[in-house]
Amino acid sequence: MTTEATPPAAKAGPRALARQRRRDSAVRFWKRYRTHRAGLLGLAALALFALVALTAPLTVGSDVSSVTGAPGSPMEPPSGEFPLGTDRFGRDLLGLLVWGSRVSLLVGLLAAVLSVAIGALVGITAGHFHGAYATVMMRITDWFLVMPTLVLAIALATVMSRSLGTIVLAIGVTSWPTTARLVRAQTLAVEARPYIERAKALGGGHWHIMSRHVLPNVMPLVLAQTTLMISSSVLAEATLAFLGLGDPTLVSWGGLLQDAREAGAVSSGDWWYLVPPGIAIALVALAFTLCGRAVESVLNPRLGVAR
């Protein structure tokens, strides 16, 4: 065994080669991503938010949302003890903001994954199978595409029980058509290439072609789409919670805004109750949008979003 003497590529099996290729393309991706300043900024902001959300049990703890043991008196303006003031029950708003990031980010993430998964499934199958199936699928996609998504999500959230899963489902099953259209277009482009014909000639079935050849090729697109979709899912979650359709037992940024409005923070001018959750929502949404656009322009310079 003289492994040290021979160059690794010469002896490596197909798996090692594939791993090497994947690592190379990841490095290449990162090199190009690094040139997008806005994308880096978004990534840094996301890392910060993720850190805050993940360490929330250590920094604030779940009892921050308890109404009975509230430390302050209701509606206190910002002070040394409560940097962002207190809410209508006397709870610390900074603590609530940190605790609320968990639900907002979790729902945003899950809803986006669900939505993109549905979109990718519909897109790949509609691009792979021709005929009646594709026609019907694309008619449904077009129909969903023009539907007012939020109205549909509201309608779904109204008829189901108030819970986190409901919100995720309501956002996920209404926001997939854009992804489906993008993925289908990419699938059609991939399937026109000669190596798909070769795979078919060697006896590759539908499943083999879709999972081993088409999926890896649409994956970058799916990744970019997920990033963009998280941004709109976070906004959608805030909107549903603001309309009172969220889980009332959980603290989220949209829920905090609804609380503030119900407590009359608007007419009494208690800006400290309203401003921080909105800024948090906008920052997270913006950060994901910036990342998504940077990923998109790295993968597909022709789109030209960040030229």
């Binding site: 023009v146 998504t149 109205v151 189901m160 949404a285």
Partner: protein
């Protein structure tokens, strides 16, 4: 809500029409092709509307529990009263019969009776519709004009400071929840904050008691903040769409030709580049109307505007199912109808489409 950033090539009209062979020959063939194109679009819209009708029926029958419970609002009622309620709203019939009744009535404009107001849903909608049209129409015209204006200018000078500022601001405003912006504007400009006095009313559409010209001024005064909110959160989308549409045209040969003829830069942009960039923009502006509907619901709620969105919020909080269902139908069909209109206008903008 969907992230319809300009990357989404949702060019329906272009997709179907450009695929067809070019139509050679006399004018008559072109017009029959156009009629066939129109018939196809209108037929598609009719199928979509039917799908909305069916969805709105079955969606609101999914609800767990008894709708009558929502009507009584938890009050103690006898079994006879419950039965009477069921009969009144037709809930004692089998599902298929409810469905045929519902379809038949919907075709004649009867969308049921609101639980909350004890009035026909169609009357409540007719009452609120003009108010929503005033708000949405004003905002739509303003944000489309602003978005296209800034977007084409951005693209023409892409990469410069002005472009980056424009795009950055548009992306930021695009990420802001519309209802939050509305609440902030109310705090600053209606309640008054620091040196800023309360300039605008906190909500509603009129102060009451005004007539004639004074009434128009009063409504415009109330309209100001809601329109600003809607324009601020919606123009970014149009900006990004028209920007990337124009960027796609930037390298084209006909622009070089126009410049070589000695046309001024401004004329090249306005006469040659922008008209071509408008084609995909028109489609996307209408496809994105769905997002505007969401914005309208939230803005009307925040500003207590007596329109469809405000009504939707009131209906949700009960929940007043016939009203929610009726409004769902109205919102969805409004977007479908507008999209079909856009499809019908499209061949007039681009003669290649619909041949």
């Amino acid at each position: 809500m969907t992230a319809d950033l300009p990357s989404a090539p949702v060019d329906k009209a272009g997709g179907t029409a450009l695929a067809g062979p070019p139509a050679p020959g006399p004018q008559a063939r072109t017009s029959t092709a156009y009629l066939r194109y129109i018939a196809g679009k209108v037929g598609g819209a009719a199928v979509s509307l039917l799908a909305v009708l069916v969805t709105s029926f079955f969606l609101f029958r999914l609800i767990p529990g008894d709708p009558v419970k929502y009507m009584t609002g938890g009050r103690q009622v006898s079994a006879e009263q419950l039965a009477a309620y069921r009969r009144e709203f037709g809930l004692d019939l089998p599902l298929w019969q409810q469905f045929t009744d519902y379809c038949g009535k919907a075709l004649t404009g009867d969308l049921g009776t609101s639980y909350q107001f004890r009035a026909p849903v169609i009357d409540k909608i007719a009452e609120a519709l003009p108010n929503t049209l005033v708000l949405t129409g004003t905002a739509f015209v303003l944000y489309t004009a602003l978005g296209v204006f800034l977007g084409t200018r951005s693209a023409w000078r892409h990469g410069r400071l002005g472009d980056r500022l424009n795009t950055g601001l548009a992306l930021t405003l695009y990420s802001i929840p519309s209802f939050w912006l509305g609440l902030l504007l109310i705090i600053v400009f209606s309640v008054g904050m620091g040196p800023v006095p309360g300039l605008f009313p906190t909500g509603g559409m009129e102060s009451g008691g005004e007539e004639g010209f004074a009434y128009v001024i009063d409504v415009a005064h109330h309209l100001m903040l809601p329109v600003i909110t809607l324009v601020a959160v919606e123009y970014g989308q149009t900006l990004l769409v028209s920007r990337s549409a124009l960027l796609d045209e930037m390298g084209s040969d006909y622009l070089t030709t126009a410049r070589a003829k000695g046309l001024r830069d401004d004329l090249v942009r306005r006469r040659h580049a922008v008209p071509n960039a408008m084609l995909p923009t028109v489609t996307l502006v209408f496809v994105n109307l769905g997002r505007t509907v969401a914005g309208v619901i939230l803005v009307e709620t925040v500003f207590s505007w007596p329109g469809l969105g405000g009504l939707f919020y009131q209906a949700l909080s009960v929940p007043d199912l016939p009203l929610v269902q009726g409004l769902f139908f109205v919102f969805a069909s409004a977007v479908i109808v507008m999209n079909t209109l856009a499809d019908l206008i499209y061949p007039l903008l681009d003669p290649r489409v619909g041949r």
